[in-house]
């Protein structure tokens, strides 16, 4: 696994710049497209908005040149494009709903985007080496669980659309679960890199699988119970699924043992069945999944499906469909909104952007030399994939609908903050992964790391 490179790896920052300009260009074109088809004229704020987007993304690009010059050159253009397209769609829905630009959701989303980019920049600036985070493994655990239970506290917790996953402070509402996802990934990575030997080597063999000892099952049981509690008390199916999936995936990467996946799936199925028997809101979701057109229940999935059908192969064109007929068209159902207006082909392109994003994250995990970085990058990338699957799978009836936002696309400040921070972490790790070994300033010697790896890989 050790790669000894005799040439200096290229930073590829110019590739990033070119792709970034392309991404901004596509977003501006989409914005113009909406203006022309809805109002028949160029959007009045085109120059300001376009320049604003360009300045923000260029600033981030310059920061990368300065602080993480070997970072993966694809990540920033991809998330810029996704974030920008999300903004265009939210702006388009503002128009359809008759919301004025000053009080529209797009402006708020733009503000959140700027804030999210700023926070991501701060993360990149101060976090010189991701391995620093390993020191805070158990702090992360406390913070992560704290964030998860925060909405349950009386006074600041808010119930929105049946799920108690929000906290409110004055006019601001926030979903701490989004941040908890990242913090818990840090905890999982730190914890698993410490305990992986015990978890992967000890155990007895049953039917070809090496099953862990009873006392090693502790962590997975804790994670399982935790996600069930989230499901029960916050009625948040999506986060519950996401957290548990993330944990099982990281456990598998850490231990390389398929038996963990088997145990995880078994626990998940058991828990899901139990939840189905006990909770009416889970039953409602399952019924909605099996027959979205049955009368006497919510028709939100049905409306999304009909929206996507209206788009067909090529879409109605931006601004020419009626995505506003779907509930939560700018958040949970933003994918049907895109499906309607840019068609199946456009939707494929969007999904491919996510695939690219996730695979670049996994590529980073492959490339980075320390176990903690591998687990963290792999976990974060997988969490994006899982979240996409849960959201898109929910609206396209692969799995029952759960309430989660599409990373970068959906309306929502907490989601943007969390996902931009996530990308900042990935950028930082990828910088470490692609940087020539001699340049690594701190941490254990590369040779020592490599040796450990060889043992693990067999």
């Amino acid at each position: 696994m050790t790669t000894v490179s005799s040439f200096a790896p290229r930073t590829r920052r110019n590739v990033e710049l070119a792709l970034l300009l392309l991404a901004v260009g596509i977003v501006v074109l989409a914005y113009v497209n909406v203006g022309l088809s809805v109002a028949g004229e160029f959007p009045p704020g085109l120059i300001t908005h376009g320049t604003g987007l360009l300045v923000i993304s260029l600033a981030f690009h310059l920061l990368l040149r300065w602080k993480a010059s070997y970072a993966d050159p694809l990540l920033l253009p991809i998330v810029t494009l996704l974030n920008g397209l999300g903004l265009v769609m939210i702006h388009r829905l503002d128009i359809a709903e008759g919301r004025d630009i000053s009080e529209g959701l797009a402006l708020r989303q733009l503000t959140w985007s700027a804030l999210a980019v700023a926070i991501a920049a701060v993360v990149l600036w101060f976090l010189r080496d991701h391995r620093t985070l390993r020191r805070y493994t158990f702090t992360a655990a406390v913070v992560g669980f704290g964030l998860l239970v925060l909405p349950l506290l009386p006074g600041i917790g808010r119930t929105v659309n049946g799920s108690r996953i929000w906290i409110g402070l004055g006019p601001f509402t926030f979903q701490p679960g989004e941040i908890a996802k990242i913090v818990l990934a840090i905890f999982f990575a730190g914890y698993l890199v410490q305990t992986r030997d015990a978890l992967s080597l000890a155990g007895r063999k049953v039917l070809g699988f090496t099953f862990p000892r009873g006392r090693d099952l502790g962590p997975i049981l804790v994670a399982w119970i935790l996600s069930l509690l989230v499901l029960v008390f916050e009625k948040d199916l999506g986060s519950s699924l996401l957290l548990f999936g993330l944990f099982v995936a990281m456990l598998y990467v850490a231990t390389e043992r398929v038996s963990w996946i088997a145990i995880g799936l078994a626990l998940f199925c058991g828990g899901a069945y139990l939840a189905f028997l006990l909770f009416s809101h889970v039953q409602a979701r399952v019924n909605l999944w099996l027959d979205p057109f049955a009368s006497g229940q919510s028709d939100q999935v049905a409306k999304g499906l009909m929206g996507m059908a209206a788009g067909g192969l090529l879409g109605t064109g931006l601004g020419r469909g009626r995505p506003d007929l779907t509930y939560f068209a700018e958040s949970d159902f933003i994918i049907p909104s895109f499906g309607e207006e840019i068609g199946l082909i456009g939707l494929f392109a969007l999904l491919m952007l996510y695939v690219l994003l996730v695979e670049r994250g996994l590529r980073t995990a492959l490339g980075v030399r320390d176990g903690f970085g591998k687990l963290l990058a792999g976990g974060l990338a997988f969490s994006v994939a899982l979240q996409c699957f849960v959201v898109v799978g929910g609206v396209t009836r692969v799995i029952p609908l759960t309430g989660l936002t599409m990373p970068f696309l959906s309306y929502g400040g907490s989601s943007l903050l969390a996902n931009w921070s996530l990308v900042a972490l990935l950028l930082r790790i990828s910088d470490q992964a692609r940087r020539p070994i001699t340049e690594i300033p701190i941490g254990p010697s590369p040779a020592g790391e490599a040796k450990t790896e060889v043992v693990a890989v067999r």
């Binding site: 696994m1 995936a249 598998y252 990467v253 850490a254 390389e256 057109f293 028709d299 049905a302 499906l305 009909m306 929206g307 996507m308 059908a309 209206a310 788009g311 067909g312 192969l313 469909g321 009626r322 007929l325 499906g339 068609g343 199946l344 939707l347 494929f348 999904l351 996510y354 695939v355 996730v358 695979e359 996994l362 995990a365 492959l366 176990g371 591998k374 687990l375 792999g378 990338a381 997988f382 994939a385 899982l386 996409c388 699957f389 898109v392 799978g393 396209t396 009836r397 692969v398 790896e453 693990a456 890989v457």
Partner: protein
């Protein structure tokens, strides 16, 4: 840890593959069926975003869309709402399209029909606003107005056909309604109007001409029995057949009487021709039993009874019961028992006689044109069947002329025109006045129009009603309108 990471990336690929498959399934495979779901507001909204085609009668729109400045960009209007309600049908945002051409040719009018595919493509390429196709009806505006006026406020239906082409010249059903109240953009008013119309016991939205509860045809069905008799070769129009005051029926103690309880001729005998002219029940009851159920039923089928027709609205098939014993057969031969017909079917019988025995497929759409008046489709006349030989048709024509000249249908006479016809007075429910019928065609030779009229429960005449008195004048008015007399 690299091996599990690689496997994890395979899992990611699998997850996304599932999403690609599911979205393809929705947006490509199922797209059409999802779009056609009745609860799909998008399809309706998309239709409103496009100018819907007009429905025209003689070049004048009877249904057209006018620009509207609310969310729905087009308002559907019906300039002569009540007169053409059952032809146009309604186009409502709340209740969809239905009731007539609006429902039956929705795809063409809305522009979503596959037949318009190439036009849509060229419209997209040339940047033209897309519009639905317009439909020119075969309706003769004068005949339609005459039928409406003659029927007055009586419940019933009038159908006029061009015998040689099957074109529907008039189609009136009473009572009627104004489709404009359903196409309004005031949802509350539309919902109220819809509920009122559906709660109305006279059922104004039912098209009695083609799709109401079917009527017993009464004596108009004697044309079918006569046709079966002539086609059998055993009878001519001059054949003497029994016509007693009452006809004893086997297997029952109820005999079949004539209306006036008198024999139809001296010595209880009457010619077939005269029996039709005076509508002799006993003669036709005897004839039915003599011919047998199979001949009778197959003759009825040749006239189109039992056929599923779309004109393009769906026509309820008329029916003769599948099993008939002798007394039931005698009753059926005079259009009673369980024989049930639409006025359109009765008009088709007359039209077939007028057209040398050939039944033409009735149709309402003369031309389909694009918004720039390019003709997209002009369906040619279609033959449905040969009901009787030309010789039989001539004999039937002479017999039906006798009905109007010197029989029960004298009220249908038109100066200077030979009119052929048949009256009917159909018992349908004990204690209720009979339905009054008239069907016929004019001129007798080379005829231009065939008509059927039914007036429910005797109309204004009530218990005194007879087809000759109540229905014949209405038919006469329609025929006059078509012939310009």
């Amino acid at each position: 840890m690299n091996a599990p990471l690689r496997r994890l990336s395979m899992v990611v690929a699998l997850l996304f593959s599932a999403l690609l498959v599911s979205s393809t399934f929705i947006q490509f495979v199922q797209a059409k069926s999802l779009q056609e779901r009745p609860e799909n507001r998008r399809t309706l909204l998309a239709n409103y975003a496009r100018e819907r085609g007009q429905i025209l009668v003689g070049g004048t729109p009877v249904a057209k869309s006018v620009a509207s400045d609310d969310e729905l960009k087009w308002l559907r209007t019906y300039p002569k709402g009540e007169l053409y309600a059952h032809l146009t049908g309604y186009y409502s945002f709340t209740y969809g399209a239905g009731g007539g051409i609006e429902g039956a040719e929705n795809a063409l009018l809305s522009g979503s029909s596959d037949k318009l595919f190439y036009r849509r493509v060229s419209d997209i390429l040339t940047g033209k606003d897309q519009t639905g196709a317009s439909l020119e009806l075969t309706i003769n505006a004068k005949a339609q107005a005459a039928a409406e006026k003659a029927l007055g406020d009586q419940r019933g239906a009038v159908v006029a056909l061009d015998p040689s082409t099957g074109e529907v010249l008039a189609l009136v059903s009473h009572p009627s309604y104004d489709p404009s109240v359903l196409s309004s953009h005031d949802t509350d008013a539309v919902v109220k109007a819809w509920k009122d119309l559906n709660a109305d016991p006279t059922r104004p939205m039912v098209d009695r001409a083609i799709a109401g509860n079917l009527y017993p045809p009464g004596s108009t069905f004697k044309i079918v029995t006569s046709a079966a008799a002539l086609e059998s070769g055993k009878f001519t129009e001059e054949s003497q057949i029994p016509g007693p005051a009452t006809l004893d029926l086997p297997q029952t103690s109820d005999p079949l009487p004539n209306d006036d309880r008198q024999p139809c001729g001296p010595d209880n005998k009457v010619t077939l021709k005269r029996a039709l002219e005076i509508s002799c029940n006993t003669a036709f009851g005897w004839l039915g039993m003599e011919l047998g159920a199979d001949d009778f039923r197959s003759q009825a089928a040749k006239f189109g009874i039992g056929d599923r027709l779309t004109i393009p609205m769906t026509v309820t098939p008329s029916s003769v019961p599948a099993e008939l014993n002798e007394p039931q057969l005698a009753q059926s031969a005079i259009g009673q028992y369980d024989v049930r017909v639409t006025p359109l079917q009765v008009a088709m019988i007359s039209a077939a006689v007028a057209n040398r025995g050939i039944v033409m497929k009735p149709h309402l759409v003369k031309k389909v044109t694009s918004s720039d008046l390019e003709v997209l489709d002009e369906p040619p006349p279609e033959q449905l069947s040969q009901a009787v030989t030309p010789d039989t048709a001539s004999a039937l024509t002479r017999m039906m002329q006798g009905v109007v000249e010197d029989g029960t249908g004298t009220a249908a006479q038109i100066d200077g025109v030979d009119v052929a016809g048949k009256t009917g007075t159909a018992q349908h429910e004990i204690g209720k006045p009979p339905h009054a019928w008239f069907t016929g065609f004019a001129p007798a030779v080379d005829s231009k129009v065939a008509v059927a009229v039914v007036v429910e429960d005797g109309g204004n005449a009530g218990n005194e009603a007879a087809g000759g008195r109540v229905a014949a004048p209405i038919a006469k008015a329609v025929m006059q309108a078509v012939l310009g007399k």
